[in-house]
């Protein structure tokens, strides 16, 4: 569309989405209220949505269009980040916001959605383009997709796409079954599996950092890099999601998807082009190169943890098993740490340590790349502690940026070295507002750019990597809880690194 517009100005205008209707299943849920509708409103605020745009929400709750608009208006006011709320703009946006109540298993719902889609196509010229967004509970994914197909809504005068939220299955076989069922209705090229970590500016910045500069790639390999640590820590507990979380756990909830995608971004080969096929091919290749542990190796390479009660800052903190909605005997991993090995020429022999947990001392997600020591320590005297290696830290949240630790001479006489840090603070160096991951990913899906979405083979490759760990853990009787809330996880996790002579960094 934009190619045909003689008034386009690519240098100065924001990228804008083509005409379309977005159908959200689970339109009354938390994700829709907190993320999706605020992101769409924000895109409207920045004039990135065309007039030929409409949103249709669905959930079981009976509501009129106006009731739904009023509800979403409150959500936008509450959850809009870094932006003012504009009443006039909302009214314009709300004119294109509709609601259809109904059970996702009932064919009547899809007839009603079909009629609504016809109406918005005629009224707003959405040109038959439809993006179906699955924001429901995962057990509804397959029935919804099946019904979309049965009602013929997967075909029309424009494109028809499907956005699927995680989790994509709960293990390798269910992910395969889900993918197979989805592909009966939507071709793979029209399926957008969302991993919001890939939509984060700083994760995208890893690509810019690695492949936009000439100085890092030459040292980005086993000759210079000793090991890599990826941490995603949360200071909070399960926050009312105990029921869901006890079925998921840290390995499924964070590592299988978000952190393996981050790892693939940090470790993949340079794509030939910055376009969806090339970038996703390289991510996929990396995931497929991760060594799959054998059952007897799991205890060496994977550690599970669960937090127990504690006192933090004078407050009593409940243990996981005491959280509301959690089975008092739950064996869920609220902490998981794994050692991955990538069997390719670039990374052979370099361990990637990945950990994620709840109720850790702080909320932080970062990647630390530890370089090898210089071959000769000419500045070390006998009895001195070993010099600290160079380290590059990519901070994903909360203070996005990149730091390089290196050694510098301490001022004064003698040749005493001390580590110093050279910092690039992304959010502060570019003080302008950065789009939320959902804004980025929604625009991408509507524009047909799947670069930041995961593909079937990537999802299945990442399940393959963690499946042996899940299998082993399912039969283990852990002595849970094994770490106190507010600490950096179980002792076994430290021991896992110590076996290689490494230590977890304190982020």
């Amino acid at each position: 569309m934009a190619e045909g517009n003689p008034f386009q100005d690519l240098l100065r205008f924001e990228r804008r989405v083509p005409p379309c209707a977005v159908v959200i299943f689970g339109a009354n849920g938390d994700l829709t209220k907190r993320k999706l509708i605020p992101a769409l409103y924000r895109l409207a605020y920045e004039r990135r949505l065309t007039q030929s745009f409409a949103t249709i929400g669905n959930s079981r709750t009976a509501m009129s269009d106006d009731d739904y608009r009023a509800k979403m208006k409150e959500s936008v006011k509450q959850f809009l980040e870094d932006s003012p709320f504009d009443e006039d703009l909302w009214n314009d946006f709300a004119k294109r916001l509709f609601y259809v109540a109904g059970d996702v298993g009932s064919p009547d719902l899809y007839r009603a959605i079909g009629e609504k889609l016809q109406m918005v196509e005629q009224t707003f010229q959405t040109t038959g383009n439809v993006l179906f967004y699955l924001s429901t509970q995962p057990s509804h994914y397959e029935p919804v997709v099946e019904q979309i197909g049965a009602a013929g809504l997967n075909k029309g005068s424009g494109w028809r796409r499907l956005v699927v939220e995680k989790p994509f299955g709960h293990d390798l076989s269910s992910a395969g079954a889900l993918n197979a069922n989805i592909q009966k209705v939507f071709p793979e090229s029209e399926v957008y599996r969302i991993d919001h970590y890939l939509g984060k500016e700083t994760v995208q910045n890893i690509l810019a950092f690695r492949f936009g500069n000439g100085i890092f790639e030459p040292v980005w390999n086993r000759r210079y890099i000793n090991h890599v640590q990826i941490t995603a820590a949360e200071s909070i507990g399960v926050e009312g999601r105990g029921g869901y979380y006890q079925e998921a756990g840290a390995l499924r909830d964070m590592i299988q998807n978000h952190l393996l995608q981050v790892m693939s971004t940090i470790a993949m080969e340079p794509p030939a082009h910055y376009e969806p096929g090339s970038v996703r091919d390289e991510r996929s290749k990396l995931l497929r190169a991760i060594r799959i542990p054998k059952d007897h190796e799991v205890p060496l390479y994977a550690v599970a943890g669960q937090y127990g009660p504690s006192h933090i800052g004078g407050q009593e903190i409940l243990g996981f098993r005491q959280e509301p909605g959690v089975d008092p005997g739950a064996r869920t991993d609220t902490y998981a740490a794994l050692t991955f090995h990538v069997d390719n020429w670039r990374w052979a022999g370099v361990p990637f340590y990945v950990r994620s947990g709840k109720r850790l001392p702080k909320r932080v997600t970062d990647i630390a790349v530890f370089f090898n020591q210089p071959p000769v320590s000419m500045f070390n005297r006998e009895g001195d502690a070993p010099l600290r290696p160079n380290m590059l830290v990519v901070r994903i949240q909360p203070e996005e940026g990149i730091s390089l630790r290196f050694l510098s001479k301490h001022p004064g006489g003698g040749m005493s070295l001390r580590p110093v840090s050279m910092d690039f603070n992304y959010g502060s160096s570019f003080g302008t507002r950065t789009p939320t991951a959902y804004e980025t990913l929604l625009v991408d899906a509507i524009s047909g750019d799947a670069t930041l979405y995961t593909r079937q083979d990537m999802v299945e490759a990442s399940w393959k990597v963690v499946q042996p760990v899940m299998n082993r853990w399912a039969t283990c009787h852990f002595d849970f809880p094994n770490y106190d809330a507010g600490t950096w996880g179980p002792r076994e996790s430290d021991e896992m690194l110590a076996r290689n002579g490494h230590v977890w960094r304190v982020p």
Partner: protein
């Protein structure tokens, strides 16, 4: 007469400034600052008051474009030539470190202007782009200024301060070179309007019909240069249409596309209202502040093909000619 401005001394003062900030305060609190710099931004102010206004804009601008800012401040006092250095710092919301940028203020009387280019040469940040923001026409006509231009990757002016369109465009043409791009805030002010127009016309059903446009009438209020730019941009988009540009004394300004079976009218002020086939569409047009305009211009340090081609058409429209 003061001794003048010595770049080495300024750089030494800057180094001292950073060393002092790294030490923290007298109570031993380490203030933990982060130094950021992406370019040298030379700001040529028109007066004391203008320099104060520019400093306010710079403080805001540094968040998006951290720079070593050099503010040139004209002085009425004969023989005046001095410099002072300071840091512009801010604490990003929720962060622990202050971000700081350097600012150097050079005050010079007319009789010492010749020393300014040498001073700027010595204090530019090496290996980073140099941008010159000339806030008034006084500087643009100073011969000393011509010495600075070759060092500059981009010159930013506001042609709405330069008089009528023909004279303004002629001056701008003389300032352009192979190595210096000229950006014009009068053009930047139109971005929100242009984007809204572009988006309104991007409708799938409407786009093919635009080839039927025979005439584009632009009626523009207070800012003839912006009106000329707008007409030129529309003309470049639809080169077969005849463009009529009229001054209008009352708000709002308007655009009308007409042709066989097609009538699109637009009115704009605080909002853009577009009427197409009896349907009315509305988009908010926020008024950009000086900082917004500069932020946009500083993000384009390379050539801007759309502006370059609009500028050529605008020159011809201003001369009263028909663009070829």
């Amino acid at each position: 007469m003061p001794a003048g401005v010595q770049p080495e001394r300024i750089l030494k003062e800057l180094a001292g400034l950073w060393a002092g900030m790294a030490k923290g305060d007298s109570k031993g609190n380490n203030s933990s600052v982060l130094r950021a710099c992406a370019m040298t931004l030379v700001v040529a102010a028109e007066s004391d008051e203008d320099a104060a206004n520019a400093s306010g804009t710079l403080a805001e601008l540094m968040h998006a474009h951290p720079s070593r800012a050099v503010v040139l401040r004209p002085s009425a006092e004969p023989g005046a030539m001095e410099a002072r250095v300071f840091a512009q710092c801010w604490m990003p919301f929720g962060k622990r470190q202050q971000i700081c940028c350097e600012q150097i203020e050079i005050t010079a009387s007319k009789d010492r202007l010749a020393e300014v280019p040498g001073a700027i040469l010595g204090i530019m940040v090496p290996d980073l782009p140099v941008v010159l923001w000339a806030r008034g026409k006084e500087w643009l006509s100073a011969p000393e200024f011509q010495l600075v231009l070759p060092l500059v990757q981009k010159l930013i002016i506001d042609s709405s301060k330069l008089g009528d369109p023909a004279r303004a465009f002629s001056l701008m043409r003389s300032l352009q070179s192979e190595t210096t791009y000229v950006g014009d805030l009068a053009w930047t002010r139109l971005t929100a309007l242009r984007q809204a127009i572009s988006h309104m016309l991007e409708d799938a059903a409407l786009l093919p019909r635009l080839s039927a446009v025979e005439e584009i009438a632009v009626e523009y209020g207070d800012h003839p240069i912006s009106g000329t730019y707008l007409a030129a941009w529309l003309r470049n988009g639809l080169p077969r249409a005849r463009v009529i540009l009229r001054r209008r004394d009352t708000e709002p300004s308007s655009i009308r596309f007409s042709g066989q079976g097609l009538d699109i009218s637009m009115e704009f002020g605080a909002n853009l209202i577009v009427r197409i086939d009896g349907m009315e569409h509305k988009a908010a047009l926020p008024v950009p502040g000086e900082c917004d305009l500069m932020r946009e211009e500083l993000s384009i340090l390379e050539s801007d093909p759309v502006f370059a081609s609009v500028f050529e058409t605008a020159e011809q429209l201003a001369k009263g000619g028909t663009p070829s």
